[in-house]
Symmetry: C2
Subunit: 186 residues, 2 copies
Amino acid sequence: MAKRVKKRDFPVSKVRRYLEPGPVVLVSSRFRDETDIMTMGWHTMMEFTPSLVGCVISEGNHSFELIRKSGECVINVPTTALIDIVVKIGSTSGAEIDKFQAFGLTAGKGSKVKAPLIAECHANFECRVHDDALVDRYNFFIFEVVKAHVAPRPKHPETLHYLGDGEFELSGRIISRRRLFRPEML
Amino acid sequence: MAKRVKKRDFPVSKVRRYLEPGPVVLVSSRFRDETDIMTMGWHTMMEFTPSLVGCVISEGNHSFELIRKSGECVINVPTTALIDIVVKIGSTSGAEIDKFQAFGLTAGKGSKVKAPLIAECHANFECRVHDDALVDRYNFFIFEVVKAHVAPRPKHPETLHYLGDGEFELSGRIISRRRLFRPEML
């Protein structure tokens, strides 16, 4: 059973710290009484303020309709400890199983959205659909992160980065090049 | 001086292997006689075939107009060996300097686009603008990768993943979970 992680409020304008390096994330959603979780690797930051994240959620995914109808989701950042659950979530369908129950995950309560937070993840970003102009053409949603919860430790969680073919790259060493940046770029 | 890297043709439908883990990339462009290079961290895969990549290129960047006018660019994947050059490219403007010359980089010839390839990078993806519907609103371009060149070795290049605040996370260990995937998902 995976461990729950205690979190603190985190500024939404700084969620790039967790999303920009490209980790696989878990997207949780709710519409009426139904919840679902999906694994997602195709996402990008788009703006600091409002805090915008663009991502591809295939219409073939059970979560697609829950997110489209509710206009909400939570983007959760799992660490390596959850690798097997991440893969299993990506290999099953919410049309057939309740993923929270099947994988022993805890549905936490959000403060701005009704979609559930995954308590076992390092960070939870509550999101509302900001722009659906490219959903029909590319299944591309633009979300605004309206509330962020992040575990204060570890400072650098070990995250999963998908390579295709069943392989993941884990996040590794940290290097600072602060001295080479112009101050206004930091 | 950074070393040039020998490459082979690579299937465009598989560029997710290099872009999905979220590395910082260098975007090179040309319009008429002018070239430029910019550092970019906000990008995502959007489709396998055609091979689509969405990314944010700020209009404040000198490259923006070159890419908009030419409808082309090259997405280059640098490794950790190039970290200082990556930061310096991100901290200078092509309106003031020739970045290929200033940083000792070699402009290679593309086979499908006129934008230059950066020979010192591990991979070069020649791109054409596929959809500019969100450029005015979000500076968000959707490119099609029309030709890919990748170094055969190392199999897992050490890439840079930006955290903000002048800090980079490097790619680390590789873990396979192939056995947990449904065959059609690989």
